[in-house]
């Protein structure tokens, strides 16, 4: 059974997704427990995989029992296993949360919503688990198509935002496919391990340079990196709350994983750093993204839009860490992926809860929210602390590693950018928290005791518990960060950095 865990992690959500319409045809209410069951099983198999990888090292799973360069192979090392756990856990949390929120927002589309939800998770998992360049493209498209559809069912402006995502996302995926073709034309192979073995001899050819640049461009588009981020904020703002909480933390992180995989496994670090020195370019773009994303976020009045720009900024941190290309920087980048998945999950879930209760998420309407929804806002504050980088949360440690990496690389500008960005984060989160905690409704001033008149009005339990679990995840990742690094991330760093 444990030997088959790598395929089970794909097959379970896929088969459950195929059966969801049937289940929904029998009884609509069964869909929700059905999805929870599937994601629980898939989370279990991801934990089994992580355990196996920790005990026995890299897993290679041959599909159809064809040997790797001929057939398709799953190659799971520590980085993949960690990503699998993050994806399954976050999607399980979001699935638990989605019940009330989707009942409120799209009551007549529950069955198909859950079908596509599972397919989206399948796409993410398939991209992460696969060891074949073309197979990654196929699953990338599954995840993207599901994402386009889920975003398009949001509010009034969602279809147009989703259409822009379709156009830009297709350019990204096509660039990726093109560079797979370029790599295929000079190596004749699609398997990542095989390509990595063949490439070093070809490092001075134009084909490989073009392939690398276009692969990076394609992934950067999917990742919502700074100059090509234009699709992201609108798409995440107008999507249904449960969808923003699924797509915003995961799609960008899976693409970030792909970027790490491409720069350090498909191409060797030697090529990226010494031969073409693309890495410093990536970190400068990352640094620009941090500043630009944060400044755009400050200018927003809508909470979800502010958080979406914050996604762009946080992707900048990951790109900065990848570009530093030393062990501290990459540790910071991977830890930041973990941290960001939980943090963005948490804050988007909390934002969804606020939308559920207030009907909108204009920051100006948040007065007295801390009294109305104390638990949700506490979780939101923890998420905000993590984004700012305040010690017990995970964000502090990932930023610390990024700063250490910048110091090691002698890039004092990046240290400045990282510290300055924390101040910018304080600015935009402080505005929300200040409005929610300290500003009173105008009418309250006339009363003797203004506090009594604000009854607690929390979101339902099925929404509150996932929010709390995500917040707990942030704290746990922060407290146990050294364990995570020493047992998993340390092995995910390619040797020689």
């Amino acid at each position: 059974m444990t030997d088959q865990a790598p395929i089970l992690i794909i097959i379970i959500p896929l088969m459950f997704a195929l059966m969801t319409p049937l289940i929904g045809w029998i009884r609509k209410n069964l869909c929700y427990p059905w999805v929870l069951l599937s994601l629980t099983l898939s989370a279990l198999s991801s934990f089994i995989i992580l355990r196996t990888v920790l005990l026995r090292g890299i897993i290679s799973y041959k599909l159809g029992n064809w040997d790797p360069p001929w057939g398709i192979e799953y190659a799971i090392d520590h980085l993949n296993a960690l990503m699998l756990v993050i994806i399954t856990v976050i999607s399980l949390i979001v699935a638990v949360y989605s019940k009330k929120s989707i009942q409120r927002e799209k009551p007549d589309k529950i069955v198909h919503f859950y079908t596509i939800f599972l397919l989206q998770v399948t796409g993410f998992l398939g991209m992460v688990v696969s060891g074949d360049l073309f197979n990654i493209y196929v699953f990338l498209e599954i995840a993207s198509l599901a994402g386009y559809a889920l975003i398009a069912i949001g509010d009034e402006r969602a279809p147009y935002a989703s259409f822009r995502y379709v156009v830009i996302g297709t350019i990204g995926a096509s660039f990726y496919l093109l560079s797979v073709g370029y790599i295929y034309s000079v190596t004749g192979s699609l398997n990542i391990a095989d390509v990595a073995r063949l490439l070093p001899e070809l490092y001075n050819s134009n084909v490989i340079l073009t392939a690398l640049v276009f692969m990076f461009a394609g992934i950067a588009i999917k990742m919502a990196m700074f100059p090509v981020h234009a699709w992201a904020p609108n798409a995440y703002t107008h999507a249904p709350s449960a969808v923003s909480a699924l797509v915003a933390p995961l799609m960008t992180k899976v693409a970030a994983y792909l970027m790490i995989r491409v720069s350090f496994t498909v191409f060797k670090p030697h090529y990226i750093i010494d031969v073409i020195s693309l890495n410093s370019f990536i970190s400068w773009i990352g640094a620009a993204g941090i500043i630009a994303g944060s400044i755009f976020a400050i200018a927003q009045n809508n909470l979800k839009k502010m958080l979406s720009y914050s996604v762009v900024a946080q992707i900048g941190y990951i790109a900065l860490g990848i570009g530093l290309a030393n062990s501290y920087g990459l540790t910071g980048a991977v830890l930041h992926i973990v941290n960001e998945a939980f943090t963005k999950g948490c804050v988007f879930l909390a934002a969804g809860g606020i939308v559920y209760k207030l009907g909108g998420c204009n920051i100006a309407d948040f007065k007295n929210l801390f009294r109305k929804m104390p638990f949700t806002m506490t979780a939101f504050t923890i998420g905000a602390f993590s984004l700012i980088g305040i010690p017990p949360t995970c964000g502090f440690f990932s930023k610390l590693y990024l700063i250490l990496g910048s110091i090691e690389a002698d890039q004092w500008t990046f240290v400045g950018v990282l510290l300055f960005s924390s101040i910018l984060n304080v600015v935009y989160f402080f505005r929300v928290i200040q409005t929610a905690a300290f500003e009173k409704q105008m009418s309250d001033y006339s009363r003797e005791d203004p506090y009594e008149k604000v009854p607690m009005d929390e979101v339902p339990l099925t929404m509150l518990i996932p929010i709390q679990i995500a917040a707990l995840g942030i704290l746990l990742c922060g407290i146990f960060n050294s364990e995570i690094i020493s047992s998993v991330i340390k092995y995910a760093i390619p040797p020689g950095l």
Partner: protein, 95 residues
């Protein structure tokens, strides 16, 4: 704006052409693509998969998992269209 876009597109195209300069000649039987992995598919197709059509044998056997992904893409697209359009179809019928 159109000029900027045109220049951008020309740059991208120029870069892609720059990449093709080093490529193996078109139709070269000795190119890596024809030498490294594919000969096995051609030589062993009948022996290993009992299918004379190599495209079929790769599609359904050697790289069958890709085909699973492909059918999933179709399923996703179908479900996506239902998700997006179904409600409004019903509403139109009621009108």
């Amino acid at each position: 704006m159109k000029i900027v876009n045109l220049i951008l597109v020309l740059c991208i195209g120029g870069f892609l052409i720059y990449g093709t300069l080093d490529m193996p000649r078109w139709g070269d039987p000795d190119s890596p693509a024809s030498k490294h992995v594919s000969p096995r598919y051609i030589q062993k197709t009948v022996e290993e998969t009992a299918t004379p059509n190599m495209v079929t044998s790769i599609l359904a056997d050697y790289r069958g998992y890709d085909t699973l992904g492909e059918t999933t893409v179709i399923f996703t697209a179908g479900m996506a269209c239902i998700l997006l359009l179904r409600n409004s179809i019903r509403k139109n019928r009621n009108d």
